[in-house]
């Protein structure tokens, strides 16, 4: 018995690991009447040896699947061992891991057996039982199954904190090529339905305080990077559209890990495009937190991100006319656009300059990357970069001064710039 469950867990965790989302924040489920758990703390309980956060028990309910998506290990033509958890097995694992403080909750995905509704119904059952029978308030992330009915998606929203569908292919042509029996509309339909339900729910909540929660951590999606030939511009325009049209909380970018010798795909042995993935996350952050419009960063004349420097520095070098910026006067919005200054240091600058004019010493103490920022700012000091440097010069100086450390950094948790 215990050997069997260990085997299932090994197979179904292995098959789920290509989904990079592991977020457990964005909810605020509380522990009422002395039950089990609460959600929304976003704790990483450990990190795998590839340096990724482990916050949730991320598994498939089953790796049986009727589809044959070329980029997926679970595709039906793949010759692998197929297993399935029972609903109760998933519940027992979740509760027992949770009670031992291993995890923040469950992220349940699945191969599609029989049809969309049949699969979605089982996912919903797990969540429903956890909430109603086990009084579990930990985090639950359910996969929305493309083509699932509105009724099931509604139920899912009642019990899950987050829902996601991975659109996987950044372009429709990519999807046609690699997953010919899938279509974009089947994916968009549940996303769109949930978006509207969430809006409706939030309106209701304004009138009636006690309205039960509905997908409080919203929706997310994932795109595979480097499986087909799309440009960074294609990827980020799609991301931007999903953020705007469907109010997504997060878009994840997952460098393609070769899994077969299918001619349509990068073969076994090709490396995972980790730096590119990192640059896409940085671009995503610039869009969401730094006030950049996607078209400032990627457009027809710059369809690809630089691999050797981060997208903010790239942008600044293309727009040298907007610099130097006076640290003691510029608005927060402008400070955020300076290479070498992150969210926290920008905020600290605004606080700190209320007390005195800031000089280089202050800026160093605040923690900005002076050797980057110095080409773009002036402060309360006579020493500043006076030479008339070209973008190329600046790039060379910065690159020769950095150890390339940022490249090795974690693409999932960036605090660069």
């Amino acid at each position: 018995m215990s050997e069997r469950i260990r085997e299932k867990l090994s197979i179904l965790a292995d098959a789920a690991k290509y989904d990079v989302s592991c977020s457990s924040s964005g909810s605020n489920r509380k522990n009422h009447n002395k039950s089990l758990g609460d959600a929304g703390n976003g704790i990483c309980h450990t990190y795998t040896e590839d340096g990724r956060c482990v916050s949730l028990l991320k598994i498939l309910l089953t790796n049986f699947c009727i589809y044959d998506c070329a980029y997926c290990v679970t595709r039906k033509s793949n010759d692998i061992r197929r297993v399935a958890f029972t609903v109760q097995e998933v519940i027992d694992l979740t509760i027992n891991f949770y009670r031992r403080n291993y995890i923040e909750g469950l992220f349940l995905s699945s191969g599609i057996f029989k049809n969309a509704d049949y699969t979605m119904e089982r996912l919903v059952q797990v969540a429903k039982k956890l909430r109603l029978e086990h009084k579990f308030n930990g985090y639950i992330h359910l996969k929305s199954i493309p083509g699932a009915s509105n009724e099931l998606m509604h139920e899912a929203g009642l019990y899950a904190d987050r829902l996601s569908i991975n659109i996987e292919m950044p372009t429709e042509s990519g999807l046609k090529l690699l997953a010919p029996d899938k279509n974009r509309n089947d994916m968009i339909q549940p996303i769109n339905y949930l978006k509207n339900e969430i809006i409706l729910h939030n309106d209701q909540k304004k009138l009636i305080k006690k309205t039960p929660m509905f997908a409080p951590a919203g929706q997310s999606t994932q795109m595979i990077i480097g499986a087909t030939a799309e440009s960074d511009k294609d990827i980020m325009l799609t991301a931007d559209k999903f953020y705007k049209d469907f109010n997504l909380k997060r878009v994840y970018y997952s460098g393609f890990v070769p899994i077969s010798n299918d001619k349509r795909l990068p073969g076994l042995g090709s490396s995972v495009p980790m730096i590119r993935e990192n640059r896409l996350y940085q671009t995503d952050w610039l869009m969401r937190f730094y006030g950049f419009n996607v078209k400032e960063l990627l457009n027809d004349s710059n369809p690809h991100l630089d691999l050797d420097i981060d997208p903010k520095l790239s942008w600044a070098l293309r727009n040298l006319s907007q610099f130097p910026v006076d640290i003691n006067k510029a608005d927060l919005q402008i400070l955020l656009r300076i290479p070498g200054i992150g969210l926290q240091s920008a905020y600290k600058i605004v606080q700190g300059r209320k007390f005195q004019k800031l000089n280089w010493e202050h800026l160093k103490k605040i923690g900005i990357a002076v050797n980057r920022a110095k080409y773009f700012i002036t402060c309360n000091s006579h020493a500043y970069e006076r030479r008339d440097l070209t973008a190329m010069n600046i790039k060379q100086y910065i690159l020769s001064g950095s150890s390339g450390k940022n490249i090795k950094n974690n693409p999932y948790q960036l605090n660069l710039f």
């Binding site: 260990r6 795998t48 340096g51 482990v54 009670r99 007390f355 005195q356």
Partner: protein, 252 residues
């Protein structure tokens, strides 16, 4: 003038009492030491200051009037760092608060303010680590037990998190380094000290029957969630420093 040496019991209230006495006795040149800490050769005067609850409370109330909640909590966190000399920094900061008109906790250009904000962050990081790295083991008497050895004395900071989260199970978190822990009995959390340090051996029959199965399942999960072609050891070690491995089931 020689430096006055102030010795106290190491408690938070004790430290606040010192602040009161510093004002009351108009002390200016002093160093504070915990009684448990080694003190330098004493030249000047030595003062032993005992807890006085009402004095401590007056100082704390005064601080709360001048500082917002997070800033007050940060002072307490810094105190829990138990770093050498942190008392002197805290007193300097408190004097700064009482002598300034506006808020001072954000004036990062002041070395003392900056240092305390850094120490506060270090303690906070350790609090988060403990919220993440506690690994409960279920014992035969149905208590979820975890041993920890945090860098700083963070138990007071993690208590609420665990109390709110694990409200329907008995649990015990024990700091082996400092020899005390917190125990939740389904109603209240109380501080306890055990005579014999409770080191539960995974092989011992003190553990509930299914415990080893779940430990193995967790290890299986950890193993299989890893993507080998993305191996990144330095990042792994940065997030899970080796000194914490001892109590992490997945790393043993």
């Amino acid at each position: 003038m020689a430096i006055t040496t102030i010795i106290y019991d190491g408690s938070w209230e004790g430290l606040l009492t010192i602040v009161f006495e510093v004002y009351d006795r108009k002390l200016s040149d002093f160093r504070v030491y915990r009684i448990s800490e080694s003190q330098p050769a004493l030249f000047g005067e030595t003062l032993l200051i005992n807890i006085d609850q009402s004095k401590a409370l007056r100082v704390w109330d005064g601080l709360k009037k001048k500082l917002n909640g997070p800033a007050c909590r940060n002072l307490f966190s810094c105190y829990l760092s138990e770093l050498k000399g942190v008392e002197d920094l805290l007193i300097e900061f408190i004097q700064l608060v009482f002598s300034s008109v506006g808020s001072v906790e954000k004036s990062f250009t002041n070395p003392c303010v900056l240092r305390l904000s850094q120490i506060g962050k270090m303690v906070h990081r350790e609090k988060h680590r403990m919220e993440a790295f506690v690994r409960f083991k279920l014992t035969k008497d149905e208590i979820y037990y975890a041993a920890i050895e945090p860098d700083y004395n963070v138990i007071p900071l993690i208590l609420n998190h665990f109390k709110n989260r694990y409200a329907d199970q008995k649990w015990l978190i024990y700091d082996l380094k400092r020899g005390y822990g917190i125990y939740y009995d389904l109603n209240f959390v109380e501080e306890i000290t055990l005579d014999k340090k409770p080191h539960i051996n995974p092989e011992s029959n003190l553990l509930e029957d299914s415990e080893i199965l779940y430990q193995n399942l967790w290890k299986d999960y950890f193993e299989n969630a890893n993507i080998k072609s993305r191996k990144n050891t330095s990042l792994h070690l940065k997030h899970v420093p080796v000194r914490y491995w001892k109590y992490l089931i997945e790393k043993n």
